[in-house]
């Protein structure tokens, strides 16, 4: 038997409401720290490894990514950022963007065996939903291992939040 006209009308109206709700750009938006999840570790006493895990539907600009050390006796040697995906932006011309995992090796000078450093990352990105976040700075305090002791533990910029709906 076909569904009654009453039911069809109600379901149609309900679908329209759901659609209208989904039309809000901010309905599922993540805070930047979660959209661009930052973590790092020391590979050895003179090399740091920074990592951004970019959530699906978000991207970072390569030319807006910067790393520095906060109040440290050491400094970062110039690092080479991995190539991004090149796209021709209607406003900014040729830009490179990162999606997924971005891993950057940062040479430390001098070696800081047994000490710790504060790594500061600056990043800026957008959501495919059509919004952009301002440049975000995140800090991580990293213990540096003694030579030959292997890589240090991965430190996350903030605890990864469990979110069943995003």
């Amino acid at each position: 038997m076909p569904p009654s006209p009453v039911l069809r009308a109600l379901v149609g109206f309900a679908c329209a409401l759901v659609f209208a709700g989904a039309a809000h750009a901010d309905a599922k938006l993540l805070p930047p720290e979660q959209a661009f999840f930052f973590s790092a570790r020391a590979l050895d006493d003179k090399t740091l490894e920074a990592r951004f895990s970019v959530t699906d539907g978000y991207y970072l600009y390569r030319d807006k990514m910067k790393f520095d050390l906060d109040a440290s006796a050491a400094r970062l040697e110039s690092a080479t950022l991995p190539p991004g995906k090149v796209k021709e932006d209607q406003f900014f011309g040729k830009v490179e963007t990162y999606r997924g995992e971005v891993v950057v090796k940062l040479p430390l000078s001098p070696a800081m065996a047994g000490k710790s450093v504060v790594l500061v990352a600056e990043s800026q990105g957008c959501a495919d939903l059509g919004v952009c976040y301002p440049p975000t700075r995140q800090k991580i305090t990293l213990p540096i291992p003694e030579p030959g002791k292997g890589p240090g533990a991965v430190v996350e910029a903030q605890p990864r939040k469990k979110n069943w709906f995003n």
């Binding site: 409401l17 805070p31 959501a127």
Partner: protein, 176 residues
């Protein structure tokens, strides 16, 4: 149709409707109906323009004001602004007033204003502007973000992301 089929249709329909309404209105509440804090922030809003002169938002009281947070580094902001220029031309004489709040340096703002021929004022927001937008309902301080203020100074609508011409048309018809 039998009595029982009709009854089950109504119960099923009502359940679907209740669920959908929950999704819609739940989200609407999450995106932030303007509260008293937002109202107070709009009433007291004053920021310098690109010449350093302080401008109070309430100087445009009596008009429908679209406050648009933008930055030169934000591609979707650049995308929507030409539409705002058109709308300002078309409805400005009838009482529509756009006011930009830029999260950017004065130099970059001026350069971009010239580039696109901006026909409405821009206030210099700086980093504090993002906090202001948060009070107005922009929870994660993303751009673009627009706040539509009615003729009495009340927050009528907020939009995170591009304010599309169709939506702007609706608001203008409703409020102007």
């Amino acid at each position: 149709m039998s009595q029982s089929t009709l009854r089950w249709s109504l119960i099923g329909g009502a359940a679907v409707l209740a669920l959908a309404a929950g999704v819609y209105f739940g989200r609407a509440a999450f995106t932030g109906a303007p509260g008293t804090q937002a109202q107070a922030a709009i009433a007291g809003l004053a920021l310098p323009d690109t010449t350093g002169q302080e401008q109070r938002l309430d100087q445009w009281r009596g008009k429908v004001v679209v406050v648009n947070f933008w930055a030169t580094w934000c591609a979707p902001c650049r995308e929507e602004m030409p539409e705002f220029i058109k709308a300002q031309n078309e409805w400005g004489p009838k009482g529509l007033q756009f006011v930009g709040i830029a999260v950017d340096s004065v130099g970059k703002i001026r350069e971009f204003e010239k580039e696109i021929g901006l026909n409405y004022p821009t206030l210099v927001g700086g980093a504090g502007a993002m906090e202001l937008s948060k009070v107005l309902g922009n929870e994660y301080m993303a751009l673009p973000f627009s706040v539509v203020v009615d003729r009495k100074g009340g927050v009528a609508y907020t939009q995170l992301g591009v304010l599309k011409p169709a939506k702007l048309n609706d608001l203008v018809k409703q409020l102007l």
